[in-house]
């Protein structure tokens, strides 16, 4: 192949790809953003401004440096007959151009320092919420302030069919959850972060918060939203296969609406507080269990119960799901250390009983026995 032919081929392939790029670019809908989302807190505003400031400074330096270089490239070339000079150092110039960046950096560092200090001041919150990362959902406990005692899980609500391209994707694809975190506007909310299994990160850009949730440790962050609205974020630390699927949705509402939400929430938890000592029927448990399974376990063990060979064991026909109840319950409640099978003790007694019953009687498993919530309660003690 002569080099000419190769060059022509190369450029032709470039032009074949070009329409693709152009199509992509022309499609850039109003959805596509090229900058940080609009900030909703004072800290986030400062972050936004800092980013703009640093970026402009960089752009200016860039234009300066490469303006000079470009001039040189155009003018000082052999092909236009330019003869090389022969200078090779100048202490003065070098001192100057060491000092200037230094000064610029101080100018960048000063405002950044102010924001860091403000950002880290988590004292005197109005409401404290604990956020716990699980593989792969978030748990929230309202610890102090209005709404104290509220506690719920928040899981991605985008249906699997959309992810599998079997259904059209909704507007908030991957950014929607079953239970939003609701907080009042204008109040200082402190979030305590922790995790159950691996490191996750609680992140909502518009609120200016991103904080890793570290198992066994508590870390905190705060925000005070200035506008009502719905703010979306996502887990921002690789936490396993479903890392892309654990969004965070914060709903900032007027204080009155918040109070109403609190009342409603408390009422709901009273209603759903079932008596663990009640005897459930097989069908009730299986129905509930199927839901829990689909929501929590199917991510690994698959809806079919076949698991993913080599990575996640199948539960269909497994020794544990077809063995003594106690072992099965133990596996689910305590998990297995050092494997992806985390402890699911955060599930309610009813849910655990239901999912265990379901697993023992689903797919090819026909144990025929029923695990009652009371047994779970007993196991826990």
């Amino acid at each position: 192949m002569s080099s000419k032919v190769a060059v022509i081929l190369a450029w032709i392939s470039t032009f074949i790809l070009y329409p693709g790029i152009a199509a992509g670019a022309s499609k850039l809908s109003e959805l596509s953003k090229i900058n940080l989302p609009e900030p909703a807190t004072k800290i986030a505003t400062e972050m936004y401004d800092l980013h703009m400031f640093v970026m402009y400074v960089c752009v200016v330096i860039f234009i300066g440096v490469f303006g000079i270089m470009l001039y040189s490239v155009v003018k000082h070339r052999k092909s236009v007959g330019y003869k090389a000079a022969n200078f090779h150092h100048s202490t003065t110039v070098e001192i100057i151009w060491t000092t200037i960046p230094f000064i610029i950096l101080i100018a960048l560092g000063y405002p950044a320092t102010q924001t860091v200090i403000a950002m880290k001041d988590t004292s005197t919150p109005d409401i404290t919420i604990k956020a716990t990362g699980y593989q792969w959902l978030w748990g929230y406990d309202y610890l102090t302030g209005e709404g104290e005692g509220i506690s719920f899980y928040s899981k991605m609500s985008t249906p699997r069919e959309q992810i599998r391209n079997e259904a059209p994707k909704g507007e908030n694809y991957l950014l929607e959850v079953d239970n939003n975190v609701v907080v009042p506007v204008g109040k200082k909310i402190r979030i305590l972060m922790t995790a159950n299994d691996v490191i996750h990160a609680w992140s909502v850009q518009a609120l200016g918060v991103k904080q890793d949730a570290i198992p066994g440790f508590i870390r905190d962050a705060w925000f005070k939203a200035e506008k009502t609205g719905i703010y979306r974020g996502a887990c921002s630390e690789l936490c396993g296969k479903e890392h892309a699927f654990m969004p965070i949705v914060v709903e900032v509402v007027e204080p009155e609406k918040y109070s109403q939400w609190v009342v409603a929430q408390n009422k709901k938890s009273e209603e759903t507080a079932v008596d663990v000592n009640k005897e459930f029927t097989m069908d009730e448990l299986k129905a509930q269990g199927e839901k829990v399974y689909a929501g929590t376990c199917a991510a690994c063990h698959q809806v079919t119960g076949k698991g993913i060979p080599g990575t996640f064991p199948g539960l269909d026909g497994s020794k544990i799901t077809n063995g003594p109840k106690a072992e099965h319950i133990k596996m689910v409640v305590n998990g297995k250390a050092g494997t992806a099978m985390a402890a699911f003790k955060h599930l309610s007694d009813v849910d655990i009983a239901a999912v265990v019953t379901y697993e023992r009687n689903a797919w090819g498993n026909t144990m025929g026995d029923v695990v009652q919530p009371s047994e779970i309660k007993e196991f826990r003690n």
Partner: protein, 541 residues
Amino acid sequence: MAAIHHPGHEHEHHGPPSGIMRWLTTTNHKDIGTLYLWFSFIMFLTGGVMALTIRSELFQPGLQIVEPEFFNQLTTLHGLIMVFGGIMPAFVGFANWQIPMMIGAPDMAFARMNNWSFWLLPPAALLLITSFLVPGGAAAAGWTLYPPLSTQMGMGMDMTIFAVHILGASSIMGSINIVTTILNMRAPGMTMMKMPLFVWTWLITAYLLLAVMPVLAGAVTMLLTDRQFGTNFFNAAGGGDPVMFQHIFWFFGHPEVYIMILPAFGIVSQVIPTFARKPLFGYSSMVYATASIAILSFIVWAHHMFTVGMPVTAQLFFMYATMLIAVPTAVKVFNWTATMWRGSMTFEAPMLFAIGFIFLFTIGGFSGIVLAVVPVDIVLQDTYYVVAHFHYVLVSGSLFAIFAGTYYWLPKWTGNMYDETLAKTHFWLSMIFFNVTFFVQHFLGLAGMPRRVPDYALQFADFNMISSIGAFGFGFSQLLFLYVILKCIRGGAKATDQVWDSADTLEWTLPSPPPYHSFETPPQVSFDEYHVKNVQNVHSK
């Protein structure tokens, strides 16, 4: 590159064995350099195929071609293979070829150990690649291997850990060799401050490697015992801390990124003066700047951890220290510009890649500065902005410098000129597609797209599509590179000894290709660091 072998220059009683045994048992720095370079290129293609798979999955929202678990394995192995298999061995290959020739030595100080440093790499690569085949698949915790996620993995993780051990051993031996060669084997008159900048940058890089590779070995050893022997270094229940791993890892990891850029600075500092036909501006300040970058690199590691929840003072300290690195780097960029200023420039492929390097590396450096500002990093950490940042410094930084160096020295190595037209085409295609691939990732990151995800929200769809198309373009452009190299090895216009009219380091005083043992009698060096012209070539045929 395989054609350097020059039978005329051997002593009868000591010809190298022929065939495969030559390569398996060689103690010759050029042979070993060649092995390193080919190995790294193969690893680059391997890591590149993984990158293309990643980009194909990300072409559209939704899960298309790979499962999330496998996607994470690809990301992890792409990072590990590119860093440890692609970039680092390439620079060691350059070191092997060039350092003895540039300082006027017959070979590396420890020629046998040099062979071992190289031949440790294939077992490590095998461990990494075959880990895809074991139950549970390859490691999927990111190239940073953070626990506790990495404690959850299967056997692939153990294989990765052992691979890292071997790679570490290889790097340590390689660095001991380089340090000793530079300190002990310079030709008479080659004082430290007359050494070519490439040699200087490698000396400093080797020190970085010596200091941090053992620390990485320690970190992954603790990971191994946590996984398999029940220790609790990274487990709160036992009084340990998952974040401790991050501290130890990044104590290695940040110097590591400079390990991947300092030799690149070295190459560019050789290329720019040659094609500007003018001495390097501010030689000594270049040396000091390199040393400053290396020293500072030990106290900035926690800028990768601004979101783990450190005390305010720690965050501020690491922010200031990180920003400070812009100062010595600025010195470098300005010195290169000043070298070009009022030169008499021509723009062959090495020069194009070197200028492309300065241009794009600076963009990457600037996004680094943006990330160094703690409040801004809080919104950008673990988003595609970071991915954009490090591909600007690694691909258009390290990799472009590797391309520049390859074209620059290829005629010396093979004795043939490469095809300039094709090489220039390679440059322009790489330049265009690189930017198409990675510039848009800044936008994705700012808008909030997390990294290490196989699927994303709809607002990110368009830029991802552009980025994926760019990635394929960039990948295929690299096949052109392979073609140029093969063509050059097989033949082409004969290269002169001097090759480039104003190249002035010692290797250009040797024939092209150079004899099997570079300088059997040390040359006399009689020049100062700026007027490197009047070399007395004492090379004996």
